[in-house]
Amino acid sequence: MASTAAVPFWRSAGMTYITYSNICANLVRNCLKEPYKSEAISREKVHFSVTKWADGKPQKPTIRSDSPED
């Protein structure tokens, strides 16, 4: 049961399927006509905070956001 299926070019370049799918979706959204394009972009905005941990202690959290900081 060796896997001999041809590997897609993005997989052999080190990209995962999710990254590929998100890139495709972003490109398609960029090609929308005006009112739909701003709806799509506002729908996909994300805002989250990432905290890395070391030695059992949280480090300083970083906030990743698409919305302008107030």
Binding site: M1, W10, G14, S21, I23, L27
Partner: protein
């Protein structure tokens, strides 16, 4: 670990020796198992009644789920399509005649009675045919699952009707990514540029074709 999995798959339903049967775990295919669990697991219910006859047995999660629509014995006349996006359901249990999906292996037509299939989709045109109406969408990527009961689940990340595509933006993107492809150095850059070229050329052919 993988050798055991391969061994189990091969011996799944072919073994008749009692010794072997004890060693391998025989599990039925999901389509053979009855999906109507509305009465609950009978062994559990009986054991419950012996211990607590005055209290109703609790419902198990499977009783809250709708059973899978059964596979009809004759060929159904319509395909039931669930076309969903992460943020909305475009079509939910819509009865149609045919759906053409852009699989990575080419445009695939799905008719009622299609063999169960899982297809990965590439950026391209999806068309839903109902009588004389054809609805076309451009899909960014996704998957299509066809089940034995003529249900098709099409999952896409982005699906846009063709009249919402901006041709100028498509041309601009195409030339920009072709240029990036020529000047790309690392594998990752080349892959991203190639994705850009693929998506924009698919958009282009969807607009013109």
């Amino acid at each position: 670990m993988f050798r055991q999995v391969a061994h189990r798959l091969l011996t799944r339903s072919t073994t008749n020796h009692s010794a072997c049967a004890a060693a391998t775990i025989l599990r039925p295919y999901s389509t053979d198992v009855s999906t109507d669990a509305s009465s609950g697991d009978s062994a559990f219910v009986e054991a419950w009644k012996k211990v607590a006859p005055n209290i109703d047995p609790p419902k198990t999660p499977i009783q809250f789920m709708e059973p899978r629509p059964p596979t009809p014995s004759t060929l159904p006349s319509k395909l039931t399509v669930n076309f969903v996006l992460p943020y909305a359901a475009e079509l939910s249990k819509a009865e149609v005649d045919m759906v053409i999906v852009p699989a990575t292996t080419g445009q695939m037509g799905i008719l009622p009675g299609h063999v169960p299939t899982i297809a990965e989709l590439k950026p391209g045109l999806l068309s839903v045919h109902e009588g004389n109406d054809v609805k076309k969408y451009f899909i960014s990527s996704g998957f299509a699952f066809v089940h034995s009961n003529s249900y098709a689940d099409i999952l896409a990340v982005e699906a846009i009707p063709l009249d919402r595509i901006d041709p100028a933006q498509v041309q601009k993107g195409l030339s920009e990514f072709t240029q990036k492809l020529n000047s790309a150095s690392t594998d990752l850059d080349k892959a991203e540029a190639q994705i850009g070229v693929d998506v924009h050329s698919a958009l282009n052919s969807a607009l013109t074709g």
